[in-house]
């Protein structure tokens, strides 16, 4: 590799990215999630490619093709379970990666952070599109609910929805375009992940202490290649455990019923990774307000690089900041729980209070850390 890299630009890029890359000596397990997300993306692309070889995007066929391929195509059951559970693990990795970024102040790398938020949005879009493809009840009605949200846009809303649907309801045109977009978006994500790494390697990784580590770095290979491999084993192990033993633990039984426009399920709800946003959407009594709150729940991450700067990067040395951060984690988990509940009391009031607290974190964290900076 060394000799080749003197002549080959590709080998040179690989060498500078994963072999001789200067890396801080003290980065912890929270820094493993970047590479784990790369593993998830590769897994999803590969398993999705295999599934697409036997998939037909048509409202009359999709549901039955998916079920039939389990029995007829060798190991298709494995690839489907891997793809479905891989999506859940993708979001586990995403949320933990973002939490690391928020806790350790990684958002000061503005370009890296902004590209990362775009990746999050695209992965969320991709997951939503992919869930529609099996054409079960939750696929159909989830697509109907979420695409109908665009009708809240003033003046152009209803036209936008008809344009999105390709007709006057979620139907065949919607399914075929969702399949095309679901196939395309992951490659866009892969490109953006490359850009994400490009911007990151301009400054180098941060570290848990929040100070510069330029004077104390080691080469990426073998130290972090091995550490990332160990992390991958700990991550892929539970994933395979789900695939082999509990493939439908995180799924919705309603999706084993073919999508029927004439029968609405009692409890329409998205997969667990969207429940926090679903709770925020339902908390606002106004339709447009709910849509704005839903978008804001994710887009507020773009604000982080512009939040007030602290003397020390991250929250490691800010006790009240740490308490507030872990309160946000609690609020996030509670919002996920609340999103799975029916629209009844006391869940309505609880969702509203939790939604307020979720946004309140972003307002409070800056002043709280600045107070400590001034006191010291």
């Amino acid at each position: 590799m060394y000799k080749a890299s003197r002549f080959s630009p590709l080998a040179s890029v690989i060498r500078h990215t994963v072999i001789t890359l200067p890396t801080p000596v003290n980065i912890s397990t929270w820094w493993n999630f970047g590479s784990l997300l790369g593993v998830c993306l590769a897994t999803q692309i590969f398993s999705g490619l295999v599934l697409s070889l036997h998939f037909t995007a048509h409202t009359d066929l999709s549901f039955y093709v998916v079920i039939q391929s389990f029995g007829d195509v060798y190991y298709n059951w494995w690839f489907r379970a891997l793809h479905a559970n891989g999506a859940s693990f993708f979001f586990i990795g995403l949320y933990l990666h973002i939490a690391r970024g928020m806790y350790y102040g990684s958002y000061v790398f503005k370009e890296v952070w902004s590209v990362g938020v775009v990746i999050l949005l695209l992965v969320m879009a991709s997951a939503f599109l992919g869930y529609v493809l099996p054409w079960g009840q939750m696929s159909f009605w989830g697509a109907t609910v979420i695409t109908s949200l665009f009708s809240a846009l003033p003046i152009i809303g209803s036209d936008v929805v008809i344009w999105l649907w390709g007709g006057f309801s979620v139907d065949n045109a919607t399914l075929t375009r969702f399949f095309g977009l679901h196939f395309l978006l992951p490659f866009t994500v892969a490109g953006l992940a490359g850009l994400h790494l490009f911007f990151l390697h301009d400054q180098g990784s941060s570290n848990p202490l929040g100070v510069s580590s330029d004077f104390n770095k080691v080469v990426f290979h073998h130290y972090y290649v091995l550490k990332d491999l160990v992390g991958a084993c700990f991550f892929v192990g539970p994933l395979l455990g789900l695939v082999y033993f509990y493939p439908w633990l995180l799924g919705d039984p309603e999706n084993f019923i073919e999508g029927n426009p004439l029968v609405t399920p009692h409890h329409i709800q998205p997969e667990w990774y969207f429940l926090f946003a679903y709770a925020i959407l339902r908390a606002v009594p106004n339709k447009l307000g709910g849509v704005v709150a839903l978008a804001a729940a994710v887009l507020i991450l773009f604000y982080m690089p512009f939040s007030p700067k602290t003397s020390i990067k991250g929250l490691s040395f800010y006790p009240w900041g740490k308490v507030l951060f872990f309160s946000l984690i609690g609020v996030f988990i509670l919002l996920t729980w609340a999103g799975s509940k029916p629209v009844e009391e006391p869940y309505v009031v609880v969702s509203q209070v939790l939604s307020f607290l979720y946004f309140f974190y972003f307002l409070l964290i800056g002043p709280l850390t600045r107070i400590q900076d001034k006191l010291l």
Binding site: D202, G204, V219, I329, G330, P346
Partner: protein, 88 residues
């Protein structure tokens, strides 16, 4: 060939330190997992104690909110005293 955009933070272009002498052993001259268990395991408990009062109270509070909401929902699902008095 070395693309110019790679002339960034690489070894030799990281930090300038003056007045400091640094000693270290080559990784090939030392045991890779020295102290991994004798110091590593007590360190787990130390790190747990250090973060306990930052993590546990918010999680406990969250559990309380969840428990109270579920109890209240179960209570509201049952008949309330006097709910059907107007039908007497």
């Amino acid at each position: 060939m070395r693309p110019s955009f790679l002339l960034r933070k690489e070894f030799g272009n990281l930090a300038v330190i003056r007045g400091t002498v640094k000693y270290h052993l080559s990784p090939l001259e030392q045991r890779a997992f020295a102290g991994a268990i004798s110091q590593g395991v007590p360190n787990i408990f130390w790190r747990f104690r250090q973060s306990f009062f930052y993590v546990v109270p918010p999680m406990l509070l969250s559990y309380l909110v969840y428990y109270t909401a579920e109890m209240e929902h179960d209570r509201l699902q049952r008949k309330q005293p006097g709910q059907f008095d107007h039908e007497k």
